[in-house]
């Protein structure tokens, strides 16, 4: 009896959510399609032929984006951790380093990414120093690494702070040095905690690689922009947008999955008092 009632209730819930979804989405579609400018929008933004023409080029550009954000993410993971660890040191001798790390975080997070891309992209070559990179792609990557390391360092640091002090006491009591305790006890736990917020920052980074286009490299946004300007249509930009979604949406689902998994598998990983 009870099972049947439960099943019935579940069915009713499914029906209601399906109906409500249909009504809302249908309504939105109706507003869109009946809007006065819809015909224009459709031909400039969603033209199938334009899409077919521009897609291969945009895709090629996007491949550059992918390579760029993978490399930048690897650099950010390392640099962010180094900065976070420097900020958690206590020894007086490290004060200048701590200060530097704090300034690094403030500046990296405080200046708009697009400005950093400009400043690094045009400022570094202007120095005319031997040994500094002059390639626009490398400079853009450096600017992104700088900016995102600031955020990621703070994410790491919040993770390190969230590990209960009794863990450090336990590790020290065993005779480990502070460095060994960080390496084997604190940081592994901190990293596990911060994976979801870390990946969130990477979602942002995967879109922000488009900013490097301002320095000249032919990545997806720039290719699309040129295509769009020469054909007086915006469809290539839509194509680029869809490509970004292809990497950011799966990443968002991965984050959701990891969060759900960490809740499910390990229970709450909090350490008793």
């Amino acid at each position: 009896m009870r099972a049947a009632a439960k099943r019935q209730r579940a069915q009713r819930r499914t029906t209601i959510s399906a109906l409500s979804t249909l009504v809302v989405l249908g309504g939105l579609a109706a507003i869109l399609v009946t809007s006065p400018g819809w015909h224009e929008v459709r031909t400039t933004y969603f033209a199938w032929d334009d899409l077919k023409d521009s897609f291969p080029d945009v895709l090629k550009g996007f491949w550059l984006d992918v390579k760029l954000f993978v490399i930048v993410e690897a650099c950010v993971l390392v640099l962010g951790l180094v900065v976070a660890l420097v900020r958690t040191t206590r020894a007086p001798a490290f004060f200048p380093l701590r200060l530097l790390a704090a300034v690094f975080c403030d500046v990296a997070r405080g200046v708009p990414v697009v400005l950093l891309v400009y400043l690094v992209g045009f400022g570094v070559p202007a120095l005319d120093l031997k040994g500094l990179p002059t390639d626009a792609l490398v400079l853009g990557g450096m600017a992104l690494t700088f900016s995102y390391s600031g955020y990621v360092a703070e994410v790491y640091r919040s993770g390190i702070d969230a590990v209960h002090p009794s863990q450090m006491a336990g590790a020290l009591a065993l005779g480990l040095t502070r460095g060994q305790a960080l390496r084997h006890v604190i940081v592994p736990q901190a990293v596990r905690r911060v994976v979801p917020p870390l990946l969130n920052d990477f979602i942002a980074l995967q879109k922000d690689v488009a900013l490097v286009s301002f320095l000249g490299p032919m990545e997806a946004f720039r290719v699309a922009q040129i295509d769009a300007a020469s054909n007086f249509v915006y469809t290539p930009l839509v194509a680029a947008a869809v490509l970004y979604l292809f990497v950011t949406i799966p990443m968002a689902r991965v984050v959701d999955h990891l969060q759900a998994k960490s809740r499910r598998v390990r229970g709450v990983v909090e350490v008793a008092a």
Partner: protein
């Protein structure tokens, strides 16, 4: 006694801001001896253990380990802590490491014991503490009593000169206390030197050679458990034991 005591505490004081937590503690623990520190919460028992383990700085006095002053600022704390074992009230196991990795962490990283050897020894200790087959489990999947036994094994794995037990039964359900008590009595029988801060009078009675009663950062009375529990001299000791008796814990 010709050899110096394993642990010696001389006139140790410690304050947190305005609050004086230790007011000149003197204490000696000889080899194979077990001393119980009893007293109300906040009397300074745990702080004393943390100070001896160099987890807290002391304000004045000296702590000696095998005759060497370890509270001297020129002594590197890790080298001292390597020679002492500490078991905490809340176990302080590392949740991201399996039981065997918890136990072998210090032997491998701090003492340079080869990993295979450390694991072998960990398994022996686990078996001795009734934890066979638990080596690959994570601490979260063990009961409180099992976690506390793992913590004791962890502290023993480095073969410390002395073992500090800081309220090791306070976080456990009453029916698990006896199990831990039994294990600690075994350790004492095997000759381990111990300093035990506890609310559990069973430790004082069955394990300790000497009981020290702390009141507001001072050892106001010391002696054998039988004598102290039967005929306490200091009024604070009398009051403390009366309260325990009323609570049915003596």
């Amino acid at each position: 006694m010709s050899a110096p005591p394993v642990l010696e505490v001389r006139g140790v004081t410690k304050a947190y801001g305005e609050r004086q937590v230790l007011r000149g503690i003197d204490l000696a623990v000889a080899e194979h001896e077990a001393i119980a520190l009893i007293g109300a919460s906040g009397s300074g028992k745990s702080t004393l253990l943390r100070c001896i383990d160099l987890l807290e700085d002391i304000d004045d006095g000296d702590v000696l380990l095998d005759g060497e002053v370890i509270t001297d600022p020129s002594v590197a704390p890790p080298g001292v802590r390597k020679r002492l074992g500490m078991v905490f009230q809340a176990f302080n196991l590392f949740p991201h490491l399996s039981v065997v990795d918890n136990i072998t962490l210090a032997p491998v990283r701090a003492h340079g014991v080869p990993k295979a050897e450390a694991r072998e020894r960990a398994r022996e200790l686990l078996a001795r503490f009734g934890l066979e087959g638990r080596a690959e489990d994570y601490p979260d999947h063990l009961s409180g009593g099992q976690q506390q036994r793992v913590a004791i094994v962890s502290a023993l794995a480095t073969q410390p000169r002395a073992l500090h037990l800081d309220e090791v039964t306070s976080a456990l359900d009453p029916e698990l206390v006896g199990e831990i008590l039994h294990r600690v009595a075994d350790l004492k029988a095997s000759g381990m030197t111990m300093l035990i801060a506890t609310h559990e009078m069973g430790f004082a009675r069955e394990v300790a050679d000497e009981v020290c009663f702390l009141h507001e950062g001072e050892i106001v009375e010391r002696g054998s458990a039988e004598v102290m529990f039967a005929a306490p001299e200091h009024p604070e000791t009398q009051r403390f034991l009366r309260r325990l008796l009323d609570a049915g814990r003596l």
